[in-house]
């Protein structure tokens, strides 16, 4: 199935024409007359395939800007292309900061819209990939026992088994066993690989203080 573009705009003529244009350009579309309608569609907010949102800035009720913020807050990764009938320049600056792909003043040409949508979908794909990867790493971390997790945190600081053993007051051999389990469970080929995995899910590999906290 071709990638989906969600359209939210309160003007029925605009909504209909955008749907036609995007469909004629080979996308699947789904249009909503308000932000509320879109929020009511649960699956839309968690698409299996990369998707994006073409969003009108000013609408009665929840505005486009508010919708973007709401989605961002709940951790939903739908890249947004804003469209507007006003010259909402100050708003656009904030929206761009919040990660909007583009800000198209109506009436825009098909070229501009398609370029922005392509860019949004690329970003969506990348984000989905990253999310999937993160989820996988988290899944692997969750298989570690508490002791293994602790060893994992020490190992990625670059400390030697001997040092970790001293730190945890166990024998070097015990650490060696734990370390092997960690590498295996995390499916890491090398220490560098393990560090990279940790960083991906935001675990810092700086040397921890040995004060015991």
């Amino acid at each position: 199935m071709p990638p989906t573009v969600f359209i939210v705009d309160d003007d029925p003529s605009v909504r209909k024409s955008l749907e036609r244009l995007l469909r004629a350009s080979g996308f699947t579309t789904q249009a909503f007359a308000s932000a509320e309608d879109f929020l009511a569609c649960r699956p839309c907010q968690n698409p299996k395939e990369p998707a994006c949102l073409v969003l009108d800035v000013r609408m009665p009720g929840i505005s486009g800007i508010n919708l973007q913020q709401k989605l961002a807050k709940t951790g939903i990764i739908l890249p947004v292309v804003f469209i507007t009938g006003h010259g909402d320049i100050p708003m656009s600056v904030q929206a761009m900061k919040d990660g909007a792909i583009d800000f198209l003043p109506k009436p825009f040409a098909e070229k501009e819209l398609l370029a922005a949508v392509e860019q949004a979908l690329t970003k969506a794909a990348r984000l989905q990939e990253e999310t999937a990867e993160k989820a996988e790493i988290h899944r692997r971390v969750n298989t570690l026992t508490p002791r293994e997790y602790e060893v994992f945190r020490w190992v990625i600081t670059g400390m030697l088994n001997k040092e970790i053993a001293a730190e945890l007051r166990v024998t070097e051999k015990t650490i060696k066993v734990h370390r092997a389990r960690v590498m295996q469970k995390m499916a890491a080929a090398s220490l560098a690989d393990l560090v990279r995995l940790a960083e991906k899910i935001g675990i810092a590999s700086e040397k921890r203080s040995s004060s015991g906290n």
């Binding site: 003529s13 605009v14 955008l18 825009f108």
Partner: protein
């Protein structure tokens, strides 16, 4: 000075003759504090005092407890405690210690009128064959003290007055190139009172942006021009505004001798003025922008929606009709629908335009008889405060007996303010800054012109300036002249621009006279 051979004669003087010859008040007292000898000057002082004390001429042989005792053996009767009398105490001290007293300043309160009397006492113990004596010298410095007190009081009054008024004053001596400042002048400039000052020190305190101006005005003042200026100074890193006035005194060749001036702190006024001018300017801008802005915002939104729909539909149709659409037959039904929508949205756009025209017609003001001089006078405060901020001198030359025009007062005022603002904005560089607003008239037309000494016009085609959104300013919208032009044309007039022979440009508009044709 006496010659040496006269000396033996001096030695032969009796002590009485000696006392008669001394021109200052001196007494010789014996150990009982009785006056044995006194000089005529001493006698004179106390004869004066004795009168005020009600006694007779001063006589010898009285006990000196205090000054009045010289006249009254019972004591002065006015100073309540003789024991506190500083004169008496001095005499007793000398007898007790043998130490001389040099230039001791004492104050006595002399009744009955209770005025203060200041004396300087010097006294010395003499061991003579006839016994121990005291040679006592008085100097009455009451008059000098009074004068000093009065001076101090005058200075204090001046100082307080200056502090209240936030006015300092100064004096300048051209021979020595020194200046004298009052304490308030020092305070205004953030200097410790008494710091040595001269003109250069003053100039250092002047805001760098105003230094050239201040120095130029001062040179002019030295050449005889009046000196009354306002400028900024920097005090502890803060900008202050001061107003200065000065008068220069010259010798008969016109060479400056000295100058006296005042300096007043007007930071407060300036702040108010600036706030007011800013407010007015903002108001003006807001009214212009909102009137225009509301219309354009409504217009853009209303127009952009159908235009967007049309554009999207047409482009969708083009795609559907494109030959490479996978060899499929174009969906004619869909295309028919698209075209119907395009027609519908085009009608919607046309309807918006029709509504705007109706709205514009309604909002046109009814033109009335209008005296442009009065209209200009009404906006002068606004223009003047702007001129003040921008340091521009303003000339208003309104023709007497200007014939009336026909028009909307507010709109025409708007035009003049726009032209004046542009004039101010064009005069940001160096050089004379002058804005002239002038009215002239004849039996057919009245003309208002606004002349500046700014950058002048550099574009090839001056007509460009009147196009909407043409601007060379960072903050400009480029609507000022466009609005002006449409207002003037709606009044049946013309707006034109010409570079001056000197620096700057003149914008003028010509309107038909009311009733004239």
């Amino acid at each position: 000075m006496k010659k040496e051979r006269d000396l033996p004669q001096v030695e032969r003087l009796t002590i009485d003759e000696f006392f008669q010859g001394i021109p200052v008040p001196v007494f010789l007292l014996n150990e009982d504090r009785r006056v044995e000898k006194m000089t005529p000057a001493a006698a004179a002082i106390f004869s004066g005092l004795s009168e005020s004390a009600g006694g007779d001429e001063c006589t010898f042989g009285r006990v000196v407890n205090c000054i009045h005792c010289l006249d009254d053996p019972r004591g002065c009767g006015h100073t309540p405690f003789c024991g506190k009398c500083p004169v008496r105490k001095t005499i007793l001290d000398i007898y007790a210690t043998g130490q001389p007293c040099r230039q001791k300043e004492v104050k006595l309160t002399l009744s009955p009128d209770g005025h203060d009397c200041h004396l300087v006492i010097s006294a010395e113990l003499l061991a003579l064959p006839s016994g121990r004596k005291i040679l006592l010298h008085f100097e009455d410095i009451t008059a000098r003290k009074k004068a000093e007190e009065k001076l101090a009081l005058t200075k204090d009054i001046l100082d307080r007055a200056q502090k209240v008024a936030r006015v300092g004053s100064w004096h300048m001596d051209f021979l020595t190139n020194t200046m004298l400042w009052t304490d308030e002048a020092y305070r205004l400039f953030g200097l410790e009172p008494g710091t040595p000052v001269n003109y250069d020190r003053f100039l250092q305190k002047v805001h760098p942006g105003d230094r050239e101006y201040v120095a130029r005005k001062w040179r002019a003042a030295l050449a005889g021009e009046p000196y009354e200026i306002e400028h900024r100074i920097i005090v502890n890193g803060q900008v202050k505004w001061v107003r200065e006035k000065a008068e220069v005194e010259t010798d008969k060749n016109g060479k400056p001798l000295r100058a006296i001036g005042t300096v007043q702190d007007i930071t407060g006024y300036k702040q108010q003025e600036t706030d007011k001018a800013r407010l007015q300017r903002e108001l003006l801008h807001v009214s212009r922008v909102t009137a225009m802005g509301e219309l354009t915002a409504a217009l853009t939104h209303e127009m952009n929606q159908p235009l967007m729909a049309i554009m999207g539909n047409v482009q969708a149709a083009q795609r559907l009709l494109a030959p490479d659409a996978q060899g499929q037959e174009p969906d004619l039904e869909e295309i028919r629908e698209i075209l119907a929508d395009v027609v519908k949205d085009s009608k919607r756009a046309a309807e918006i335009i029709r509504k705007i025209r109706v709205y514009l017609k309604k909002s046109l003001h009814k033109p009335v008889l209008l005296d442009l001089n009065t209209a200009i006078r009404e906006i002068l405060p606004l223009i003047r405060s702007n001129a003040l901020i921008k340091n521009v001198s303003l000339n208003i030359e309104l023709a007497p007996d200007l014939p009336p025009a026909r028009g909307d007062r507010v709109q025409l005022q708007q035009v003049i303010v726009n032209l004046a603002l542009n004039g101010f904005e064009a005069m940001t560089g160096e050089g004379e800054k002058e804005l002239t607003i002038r009215t002239t008239g004849n039996e057919k037309t009245v003309t208002v012109s606004v002349e500046d000494t700014g950058t002048g016009i550099t574009v090839d085609n001056p007509e460009d300036l009147f196009k909407p959104f043409f601007t060379t300013k960072n903050e400009g919208m480029g609507m000022g002249l466009a609005v002006n032009k449409s207002i003037i044309e709606a009044h049946g007039g013309t707006l034109k621009v010409e570079n001056n022979r000197g620096p700057g440009v003149t914008f003028s508009f010509i309107l038909p006279v009311y009733g004239g044709d």
